[in-house]
Symmetry: C2
Subunit: 215 residues, 2 copies
């Protein structure tokens, strides 16, 4: 692995664990057993590291979000896809810890972050309309649009909600709860006879309840 990538990886981990504001570039150099001068040779401080991490996140997340717009998913792929989205957010969760503070300090990221959330809404709408078109659910346009925006919101704020309300929950359990929360909103719209859909939701719920009991 190139030194630049090692620095990015270590920074991401530190930021996620400690919150970005409390981490200095010296901390990052220390973790890597590297002199601050050597780190400075690759990145001129913390700012360019954060920008590079954002570019990486943006590129990857856009690619993932684009997929179901270009080609519809099979029914059970939707749930897997929701997991992937939550995991993408978890991988870069330090961005969401204090999103408003971050975009205030890095003003040029605000518009880009807004575009990402808009792309989330578009993707979610695409999935919901597709479930409707395939006959798994029966939902009106306004309600579907409301739901798409809600899904995007939930996906955006879950890491903050998680660390405020249930920091003792492991990330995988928290993600499972998040996915279930999205799916359960589709339940009342399930068209009669979509046994496949209901079976999937029940399976999810049971896993979640087991996860909660394990605590």
């Amino acid at each position: 692995m190139k030194t630049k990538d090692k620095i990015l990886q270590a920074s991401l981990q530190l930021f996620n664990e400690e919150g970005e504001q409390d981490v200095t570039s010296v901390d990052i150099a220390n973790v890597l057993d590297m002199s601050p001068g050597n780190l400075y040779y690759h990145f001129k401080g913390k700012d360019p590291i954060i920008r590079q991490l954002f570019l990486d996140f943006e590129e990857e997340f856009k690619m993932v979000l684009q997929a179901p717009i270009e080609k519809s998913l099979e029914l059970s792929d939707n749930w897997v896809y929701f997991y992937i989205l939550f995991e993408e957010v978890a991988d870069f969760r330090f961005f969401y810890r204090n999103l408003q503070g971050l975009v205030e300090r890095y003003g040029d990221l605000e518009q880009r972050f807004r575009s990402l959330v808009n792309l989330k809404i578009k993707t979610m709408a695409s999935i919901i309309f597709d479930l409707d078109k395939q006959g798994f659910i029966d939902i009106g346009r306004i309600e579907a649009e409301q739901m798409a925006e809600r899904f995007a919101q939930q996906l955006t704020y879950w890491p903050t909600y998680h660390s405020l309300m249930a920091p003792q929950l492991s990330l995988p359990v928290s993600i499972h709860n998040g996915v279930f929360s999205l799916i359960s909103q589709l339940t009342p719209y399930v068209s009669g006879g979509s046994a496949e859909f209901l079976a999937l939701t029940t399976e999810f719920r049971d896993k979640m309840l087991k996860g909660v009991k394990r605590k």
Copy 2:
């Protein structure tokens, strides 16, 4: 009005408008045409101001959240009540701008803030179960609990979402959208014949669509 209250009121306004981190106690004194020494006589810096504002917010919000737990609301009072909740949050929205940063800096507020969100969930559950009991909606326990938590989340994160995604929207329009977003989630659970409920939702939606078109 007592000087102490004047200081609190001016601070709250400044914090809401500019974000708490960028405001100093000298800024607050300036707005009030007061010497920093006089302000210091009443509050020993910004920290005790923030704590006092939190105590005021907590006291008021708890009182408001307790109401529908103690006594159920009439159907149409629910919507008014949702407005009041959103407005309470808007009045103290600087707390929500960077909630995670705030509770990190004021560690003792974290537990209290978590309790407030838990009380929000309890209130929302109480409202939803009550609508079910009165026969306006028909919803299962797990879905109702999921919805209650979602309502509490939406109420908590809407100021952040609003300022990231639609800072050009006025607060009243944003609050109207927020209330509609809560209400529209109840729609698929409406029991046959609840004409009153559907009429209310439609009225809300129409107002919202008009508000959006006005932009």
